[in-house]
Symmetry: D2
Subunit: 312 residues, 4 copies
């Protein structure tokens, strides 16, 4: 496929996404997030063989939010080992909303997976003795090939001021012996990671490196172990879109993770990463433009995991 | 009935209770509570007309724990008014364990009643702008006719060190707008109230004053409004024994509240208060000797609410 | 109190109830029930000493619905003994809606109480080998002092045609070994009992006989054992108004049972029975006029269980 | 890879599975199933290019059980269309056990996915007006390339005699308007489909045809539409192993469906089908040998969806 042909598919995909924007709402539970421009939408693609495609608002900075759960999980898997991580958090799709407490307080007694808040807070707690936030930020910049990632202080402060539910989850985890390190430090690391800024382009890069088995193809540097990357991609596929993950897997079929800042990162294995920015969210907290946009891309470029042509 | 006759009934009741002790366990989730002597058992009665009966270990001091929920609710009802209190906490039996979070996070979104932890923490929060702990303690001393009530610092510190679950509940309540005052101050007041020391005798006095419509008969002083006392007694009847309240109502039929310190207070309306101390608890967190002991008393003295003879 | 004075209190109470009617709705899930006249309201009182008061629509026939749960429980307690009954169904307030399946399928694995559908279906199953529906009807007529009670065939057929949920509950109970007799026979007995017709007057009589310890004062015949009546009254108090029982206990304080046909029966122990008919229901399935009407009565006549004057 | 090399990998995989057998139990809730020989274990592979590998007990007949949910879903998707099917049943992993009622009775009000009983019963109901059981059986024979598939009458009768829970689920679905056709007919079709007999070889064939986009490669006949096969494979991946699906996806990474008869079918897309028989089950109802066996295969042959080499 030539560049022009691809471009016209991407543009059509963006339009599919744009049509869904009015049905969603910008996140309002954190005041600072509600300032986003609901009409913004951007689509970036970064291929392993070095091509870049950017359409729409792909250089606007927004906070990474839950997409940081991937980065934290990856670092925890490497720093602690999968066994230690999965002793504390399961890897089952939850069927529950992202901030559910219910599952946690039944006989399961373990967060369902690292993509929901309870699981990600558990992962953050595991990271505390291993890395500092500064080190995490340095790693995130590499993974996103984005040297401009910074903590958005306004968002960070806004989140800290609206953190009661995550604090409740964390203390519940402490009461069950799942969080063993300091709860307030855990919340700080978690919230800081959520407050890092990215663009659709940085997300596309992150997805591309995951598609490339954890290796940055520009330098040949391995950033993550192969095993880590397999786990991450599988969990993105089964749990990445909260309680909409199953439908997304059927219709789109690409491992994807969303954040309430409006970002989406998708991994087309061995081929490319996709980054989307569109802050209008559906009721589950996923960017509402994401599914129609990616469904169009998936269909036109044959990216569904069970319908791959492995070329573009 | 003469004193001797009553005494022999009380002794038989105490023996009924004592037989159940081996089937229970001293509270272990707070280390300091686990030091209680499981074999201790005491029964005190205080009648409106001034009689006192004490059998067994009735002068041992222990912490009041959840029985303080009655005192806090009573003060909140008077300080804030029933409408303000019940805007924040329901008055339905919960059918759930005392420390349940589940109900709280479903569509109910309001603690089920003031006798479970979530409800009592809500009440404590309502009290913050109205009274200090010192004032609460002074009032508790009057209500129990027990000038020696003090904060048990060892228990208080032990509880503070094991407070994660109550902290989780409180922050969840804050996230839902139910707790509007400071969460850490709420936890401190709640925990201090739980750590006040009583004896079976003080509990019998408290029950007697509630039986006497809130008036201390020795001085004629009204400590609580009639309306407050009606509410308290009804809620003790329907919710006082956690998820064992229904069975207790059928078999014993006397408004009663338990605490994990091993105390029980019962109100035989217009007649007397009963205080029990026995730190061996059943699986629901109620003193295990309580039901057989009080069932015997209820039967022999005809104290069941639907079988009262109103004399003794 | 003279007759005229009482009459004027009853009339005021009826008006309190009438004011609430517009806020409710006639039951619609069973088509035949939806034909009731929402504006009908009647209040009957029957005292142990033989006085009768009837105000409003007290001779309109309607189906007894869930109030029959009291009759069935009473007969089961006598035919099988309390131990056999409570081996199959608990006596805890449920905190859940009347037709909840959730509790039933958690670790409890036993209906919470005999006043919710799952518990009443269990009771009906226990009755199968002991009595026929004809015998139940004969007994119900005696208990209500109402020789005209009959099966309302139109309602019965309408309920049978809308029985899926109760059938689901019953088969779930069978799968757990709680219902051991034929499920379809159980459903038939249960539904027939619900379809018996009463008036506010018959309900007042039933309440009066329960207030009189199970003895019909006109003949001196004991219809129910004292023990049975105590259990019934206590369970009515703690569980009679579904998940509104706790609030009702605080505000009204009289053991009461509701039915979706619009009936209410209240037992003022040792004094009188109260029957109410008003088919406009609140969201919990209780007659919406009931609480304000009975709250007024309770206050004016001092009928609250913790504020009784035992006279009228 | 030559045949001998592959054979030795399969033998090693079988041994990995065999080691897990003692930790599981043969299904006991249906008496007839409990007669299976716990020590049996067989592994069959059927490749698109016509190779067959059979190791161990691959010609023992057993009932297909929940694996039939795939066949029924496939037929329903073709007969009714995906929109009609997914209007009645979601496609989200449930996080709950296979026979859960809870989810069904909360605000979701729709079975979570077609791989749990409530979802599969809904699918069976949708099939009723479209196909007969005989037609379903003929289709199943083609899909499994197994002309000897028959109804196991002993198992069918045993299941019918222990069907209360599925009957409860079905009537609950009827009460919610999800099952609109006859409930008893639905149960019969569902149970008959579960009682069809297969071997590890027939399951391998079914998996192979799904891997081949729904086309039987021996005849070139398309048995299922491409769209249907994509949906089936994705749902197998996210939901095929009940509440163990997420862990299975990470460790094995091959779309797989289990049945309590001891069968497993796996689809290695574009390459082959795998059939396993081992009736010793884990606590979630999945064949306990399955995960270690398939994990070994997946690792050695690089079959994980995110680590495919697409050759063998």
């Amino acid at each position: 496929m030539d560049r022009k042909e691809i471009h016209s598919i991407l543009e059509a995909a963006l339009e599919k996404g744009r049509e869904a924007i009015p049905d969603g709402e910008v996140a309002s539970y954190i005041p600072e997030l509600s300032k986003a421009n609901k009409d913004h939408i951007g689509l970036s693609i970064s291929t392993i063989d070095g091509r870049r495609f950017n359409i729409g608002d792909t250089d606007i900075r927004f906070t990474i939010q839950s997409i940081s759960k991937i980065i934290s999980l990856a670092v925890a898997l490497e720093a602690c080992g999968p066994d230690a991580v999965f002793a504390k958090v399961s890897m089952e799709p939850s069927g529950e909303a992202f901030n559910s407490l219910i599952d946690l307080d039944t006989d399961i007694n373990k967060p369902r997976n690292p993509m929901i808040n309870s699981g990600a807070l558990t992962v953050a707690s595991l990271l505390l003795p291993k890395v500092t936030f500064s080190e995490m930020k340095i790693f995130a910049k590499k993974l996103c090939m984005d040297p401009d990632m910074e903590l958005d202080k306004a968002v960070y402060n806004s989140e800290k001021a609206n953190i009661s539910r995550n604090r409740a989850i964390s203390y519940l985890l402490e009461s069950k012996g799942i969080i063993e390190n300091d709860v307030e430090d855990t919340l700080e690391l978690y919230t800081k990671m959520c407050s890092l800024t990215v663009t659709a382009q940085s997300l596309a890069n992150m997805g591309m490196i995951l598609a490339n088995d954890g290796i940055d193809p520009t330098s040949g540097t391995r950033l993550l172990k192969s095993e880590t990357v397999h786990i991450i991609k599988t969990i993105m596929f089964t749990c990445g879109m909260y309680d909409g993950s199953g439908k997304f897997a059927v219709h789109v079929g690409i491992p994807t993770k969303s954040g309430v800042g409006g970002g989406l990162v998708s991994v087309v294995d061995k081929l490319m990463g996709i980054g989307v920015y569109s802050p209008s969210l559906d009721a589950k907290g996923n960017c509402i433009a994401g599914r129609p946009l990616l469904q169009h891309l998936s269909k036109e470029l044959k990216l569904h995991i069970f319908e791959r042509n492995n070329r573009m």
